[in-house]
Symmetry: C3
Subunit: 316 residues, 3 copies
């Protein structure tokens, strides 16, 4: 865990939210806030990372996430190299660490890593020379820290503070690296209560140990919450057993307007995207006045610019 | 149709040539002319679109067309993000408009859209916020406006004016978005006669309504024309019925030197590429002194720079 | 051969090491040396190729090699267009030279070409207009000149000079464009002895004519050598007959610590990568103090920057 912090407590890699001090998280949120005007102006570019080489290393395909990092890096004026590793050297039998050693020898400055196996970015961070920074862009069912940070930005933006907030996370908690990172972030930042709402089959064992309250009934779980985070039903990550059909899931856990009315009247609705309309969320809700799903995307660019700048020692 | 023009008649999107005023077309041709020196000099770059983010959204794969837009955007100093949408979020079941909403939320400035379904760029243009511009890079069998504009540039370059010109378009008119856009451009710009030459099975119903004269016999159709535009026989877009074989097509409609001699002696030969040698065109013609197929490609970069600059309000 | 040199002896294309004068090779090594500080500093960029358009034309997929050229070009401030040609126009039946003619018409400045067929870059160089430069990034089993140049840089870096050196190349000589280019470079630069070590089935006919000594027994071949170059066992390039299994190959030709001890005590171990641990090289050797495999990669970026700059007439 300490791997991602220097001796003096500065962020060197971003691998997981777990164990990240509150102040480090706030520093990212504040840096992102300072980048928001850049993303809106005519020339959406600052020269902070000019001449740096950032590798987008996607061992698992994700056009959407890769794009957000590519945009963030280009707006910081970095050179970006996209490598879809599934189709390259790994296919020729090269080991993960040999691939990393080679790219490091090309004088890489930063690796953004998406990997199907939990812990891969950790392993890479352990291995790279000290001047190279590693960002976890999602590993297995372990962590997706930049997603959680943009979610925290979104919550702070709309709710101003974390103290006193009741947050519900709904859906496939068990396979969700997003949920895990959100839970760590919310507990670190002092949310009053974090609820997870899911059928037993989609809850990890001993989830209570993460400091959350568990609800199997969404009607109970949504009562008086300030924030609802819907998760994507990721069929591609789920193996057959005890898997509800889309219709079954929607009827038991889909966020409809009727269910939304159980939450506080000013509750916000979040989703990491891409959304499955009619599976985890009703279109009227996704497009409704409580939805902040698109602002999340906008904040996501600023968050990734912030993380990259901080790691490169270049944050304002 | 009016979707692509502002209330004051300025081009906001480029979706189709149909209904585009003559002056708007001339403005694009003139802007392209002003960019021609840039594409030839040592540092082939102008800073007009610096800090803009342009998405190349290809729902249908086309390396060649994608490349021309990528080069044009880079020569304007824009940041380009290539998204081969077939392999990304859409595969995860996200709707077209949700994909667009997400990319818009990343503060996109422009979408260049190639789509297999007619009307998709139109739908996107209807949906995006007002500061985002949409360029149709080919949709189904509907339109391919930048191709038609570069063709008009080519004709003006070699023939100086459109008045008095007799233009023949030869081949699979029925499946060709290129032909449709060319016909609209040529009639708008005042060509004297536009002929379409094809077997009945490769002609759309009521093609005469577009203002063209129809020839099934190429020997008659090519008589005294100033411009011959050969179309690509696009097997991938044609379904089996009544489809001539390559050899049959070549023997009935292929542009040979002998047939070329029926046209005016200074006639030019055009083709949108990639050419099928020995299917729609004889090699001697493709490489001969009447061929302007490669100049078309060069003009195509300038045309795309012109369209992007005008849409961004940055044309010289 | 002379195709790659101008009348006044300057490099216009880089197609093969064969026939390249000693001084031209030294010029590349010297230019690369001048770029080494750039690759290590904070802003890893020089504006030498600003506004140039470089096409990475990979008719055969190779993420690693493509990446090194992309990084080199970006550090020279060029615009890079990656084209994986296997998936594009060629699939639509366009000929190689038509593809090249089209990209040339887009005002390309340089083509970096990887092709499965020996001689393809040569053919392209013959065909392009005089202002366009061609770099062979590996063609069939013919040549891989930038790999050989970075290998020469590596040898000069660690051994200071070529005179007096005994160099062993071990492995599948027969299918290796890398070996062929290395042999030409080493004999041109005056290495005392170049040995090839391989089973008869992996040696080309009449390999002695290239000026090398042939060893079938690795224990004899490694005696007192200064440099050991291990080749990758490229199963994808080998057809079934007489092919040793990985285990057989390792036991007969794999570079183990025991075998390494037969070479001079200060011998260096090289490999073009990606390495097959336990097939052609023991992990202890690959990661050991004699291994210079990762420095090769670093030098490879500088070599490609040097070649591109020299071809563009912009070397310092």
């Amino acid at each position: 865990m300490n791997l991602q912090l220097s001796r003096t407590g500065e962020m060197r890699h971003l691998l997981t939210i777990e164990g990240l001090p509150k102040q480090v998280i706030y520093d990212v949120l504040d840096a992102a806030e300072s980048f928001m005007p850049v993303t809106k102006r005519d020339v959406k570019k600052v020269p902070l990372l000019r001449g740096k080489t950032i590798f987008n290393l996607f061992f698992e395909s994700s056009t959407r996430t890769r794009t957000t990092f590519e945009i963030a890096a280009k707006r910081l004026s970095a050179d970006v190299i996209n490598i879809n590793v599934g189709t390259s050297a790994v296919a020729k039998g090269e080991s993960l660490l040999d691939t990393i050693a080679n790219l490091s020898a090309m004088n890489a400055d930063m690796f953004v890593v998406r990997h199907g196996q939990s812990g891969a970015p950790h392993l890479i961070a352990k291995y790279v020379p000290p001047h190279i920074n590693v960002i976890n862009a999602g590993d297995g069912s372990h962590a997706h820290p930049t997603q959680a940070l943009l979610d925290m930005y979104t919550i702070r933006y709309f709710k101003k503070k974390f103290e006193g907030l009741r947050v519900a996370i709904v859906g496939d908690i068990s396979h969700s690296r997003v949920a895990r990172s959100q839970i760590h972030a919310l507990t670190t930042l002092g949310a009053s209560e974090v609820r997870v709402i899911a059928p037993k089959t989609l809850l990890p064992a001993n989830v209570e140990n993460l400091g959350v309250s568990v609800y199997n009934d969404i009607a109970l779980g949504l009562q008086e919450v300030d924030v609802i985070i819907m998760l994507r039903l990721q069929r591609e990550r789920m193996s057959g057993v005890n898997l509800p059909s889309s219709q079954e899931f929607y009827s038991a856990y889909g966020l409809t307007q009727k269910r939304l009315s159980l939450a506080k009247s000013d509750a916000i609705v979040m989703h990491p995207g891409p959304i499955n309309r009619g599976v985890e969320i009703e279109s009227l809700v996704a497009d409704g006045r409580s939805s902040v799903i698109l602002p999340q995307v906008t904040f996501g660019i600023a968050i990734r610019m912030a993380v990259m700048s901080i790691l490169a020692g270049q944050a304002k």
